[in-house]
Symmetry: C2
Subunit: 180 residues, 2 copies
């Protein structure tokens, strides 16, 4: 186990916090580790009639329009399954009778402390008056057959880690997809 020798706060922002730490590695070597922290997030795998609910949005950080499963940041003290339910409603207008956690993972454990959770939604219902999304979000939601979503993963057109993980899971569980 690496030991912290010192820790310097470089930046504390709205989403991202950055520390620069000096550590003592297991093998006795001193090293610098830059560590990014973020509030963590939840994502939702929502399936209806063998189709996955996806959202399309422009992602400024990667300068691309991406296809992802609905997701969002955990608010302070917010329970994870409640956060999943809220984000599903805000981004897609749907609600679900259940939320079942299927993955907890580190997107980039090399330098980022963030943890993401993927929930699988149960039976979906579209709400007449869903909660509004954040004012700086422009998101379009739509359903895509699991097999077509897997094709987009294999063609490299779906590039988001949580979305690839969720689609592979759905393909194995519901569509019994084999690789080409």
């Amino acid at each position: 186990m690496d030991k912290q020798c010192s820790s310097e706060l470089i930046y504390k922002g709205k989403v991202v916090t950055l520390h620069k730490d000096e550590i003592l590695c297991e093998n006795g070597v001193h090293a610098i580790r830059e560590v990014v922290s973020a509030p963590g997030g939840v994502a939702i795998l929502a399936i209806q009639d063998q189709e996955i609910l996806l959202v399309s949005q422009y992602r400024y950080a990667v300068q691309e329009e991406t296809l992802e499963i609905p997701a969002g940041t955990i608010e302070p003290h917010e329970e994870l399954s409640r956060c999943a339910m809220r984000e599903l409603e805000e981004e897609t207008g749907y609600t679900s009778d259940t939320m079942n956690k299927i993955f907890t993972f580190f997107p980039t454990p090399g330098f980022c402390a963030e943890v993401l959770h993927i929930f699988e939604a149960g039976k979906l219902t579209h709400l007449d008056h869903p909660k509004a999304m954040d004012e700086d979000e422009c998101i379009t939601a739509f359903f895509l057959p699991i097999e077509e979503a897997m094709d987009l993963v294999q063609q490299g057109k779906i590039k988001d880690s949580k979305t690839i993980i969720a689609i592979q899971y759905a393909a194995m569980k519901y569509a019994h997809t084999t690789m080409k």
Copy 2:
């Protein structure tokens, strides 16, 4: 598409660069985006006799010992497949006759510009005198049957995004795993 209005460099370090940008969203709203950049990385799915080559290491950012496929940071001007070959050798002592890119993905497109590439290695050979790993790395390499690796994913014991993606790919392609 969101437009950049201004960009402030907060920090430029060894691995992580952080910018704070003001943007104009598609819907006319002004917003702040904190964007983390990193050099990008490659990871290697290496399979021999239906077993996946994994590495175990302490990850300071997440304060845990993790199980991952071999991976590392792209050096300036380094060709991706060459980087994959080098990291495979440094972390495991193995080399491969081929390197075939199977995924290019964004671990966290919400705030991080980093891109990761997963390569699938071909026929493996163990080298008598492999290149040494970085001096601040303590890594143990071992093989695990694909089915057992999938069990660890489903039990939440393998938590790294690139490793989950690679194992699910291997399970679908080679082990025809179905979900429990």
